[in-house]
């Protein structure tokens, strides 16, 4: 309740998941973001309630467009506290079927949200750089973080492999030079992934 009333930042997130058909479509993303935002702020809850009443008290489901407008309404409301929207693995949202495909629909939403140009809205997305994703995102961000190129990421991978090798009862008995070779080789092959 303190968080809801204090005007503090809101953090909402969504994980696209190729193993779960309920986590691959724009509709799923919008359902989730609206409910999370509504849970974190009373004014957002009011906005979602308006959508609910406009659909005969929940007798009808909202269209994707209705939900996108509702989301924009929340993000653009006079509340000035930061809102963080975080999405993981956009490449796991399918682009195989449908015109537009589920992924194209999500890319369109992201494009629209970023172009609202709201100072309190911060969006972070992780994704493999697939062609269609790259095509949209290259215009939205001046400096993407490439995990392959990050020295910190490479060091994290080396540290992780090292800790596994040193804590495993079997591998920890290897000779030091063997351990070193395995750590170096695996770190190199991981290529930032």
């Amino acid at each position: 309740m303190a968080l809801r009333n204090s005007g503090e930042a809101a953090v909402v997130y969504f994980y696209f998941d190729f193993r779960d058909t309920n986590k691959q479509h724009l509709r799923n993303l919008l359902h989730s973001l609206l409910v999370q935002l509504s849970a974190q702020s009373d004014p957002f809850c009011d906005i979602l309630s308006n959508l609910y009443y406009a659909h005969d008290c929940g007798a009808r489901k909202p269209s994707n467009r209705d939900m996108m407008e509702c989301l924009k309404g929340m993000l653009s409301s006079p509340r000035q506290a930061p809102i963080y929207i975080i999405m993981d693995a956009l490449d796991e949202c399918s682009n195989a079927s449908g015109i537009p495909s589920p992924r194209e629909q999500v890319l369109k939403l992201v494009n629209e949200l970023v172009n609202l140009d709201l100072p309190n809205l911060h969006i972070c997305i992780t994704s493999r750089p697939e062609f269609d994703i790259q095509a949209v995102f290259q215009f939205l961000t001046p400096r993407p973080v490439s995990l392959h190129d990050e020295r910190g990421q490479k060091q994290d991978i080396a540290n992780y492999i090292s800790s596994v090798i040193h804590s495993d009862p079997w591998m920890s008995r290897w000779r030091d030079e063997d351990k070193k070779l395995v750590i170096e080789t695996l770190s190199e092959l991981a290529d930032g992934m």
Partner: protein, 192 residues
């Protein structure tokens, strides 16, 4: 027999026949009167019957009324035992109650998938002490304060899970009015 005598007898016979006829008519008339009397009695019995039914209905109504009063008394008794709770709700957190009820309604209406299951999996298989480079980076800090869009190219769910927790905890700590530094020893990495 003298014709005068015959005439007299015939006259008498005629008169008697007329008398008989008149009596029969009288009987007939009385029978008719009796018939209509019986009809009247019948009607009266019927109306009496109706009145008895009305009275019965009235009695039933009174019975129902009594039962209503009874159930109202019972309800009143129950309410009076609930009154302290109702009063407490009234004066404390009606806002929370209605807000939560609305949120439950939204949840049932949209029935969204639950992303926290993925979040918890990513978070549970993290590796302690990594990803600090990301939180120390200008890219992250610029995005957190002023950036509109950050794209992390590559596949690293745990980095994101950590970012979500980092931000959420930062906000919770601020909301509680504590210092935000020194609380974050949960920066992890999972090799996916």
């Amino acid at each position: 027999m003298a014709s005068a005598e015959v005439l007299r007898i015939a006259h008498n016979a005629e008169k008697r026949a007329e008398d008989t006829n008149g009596r029969v008519k009288g009987v007939e008339k009385r029978l008719r009167g009796l018939g209509s009397n019986l009809h009247c009695i019948d009607e009266k019995v019927q109306s009496l019957d109706k009145k008895v039914q009305d009275v019965n209905r009235g009695v039933q109504d009174i019975g129902n009324g009594v039962r209503d009063v009874d159930s109202k008394v019972v309800r009143g008794n129950r309410l009076s035992s609930l009154r302290p709770i109702l009063v407490v709700l009234e004066y404390s957190d009606v806002q929370i109650l209605t807000g939560n009820q609305r949120r439950d309604t939204h949840l049932r209406w949209l029935s969204p998938p639950n992303p926290s299951t993925n979040h918890n999996i990513a978070y549970d298989i993290h590796h302690h002490g990594t990803a600090q480079w990301f939180f120390a980076s200008n890219t992250y800090n610029e995005w957190k304060s002023t950036g509109s869009f950050l794209w992390i190219r590559g596949k690293r769910t745990s980095l994101l899970a950590t970012t979500i927790d980092f931000l959420t905890n930062l906000i919770s700590q601020r909301a509680l009015g504590r210092q935000s530094s020194g609380f974050y020893h949960f920066i992890f990495f999972f090799l996916s």
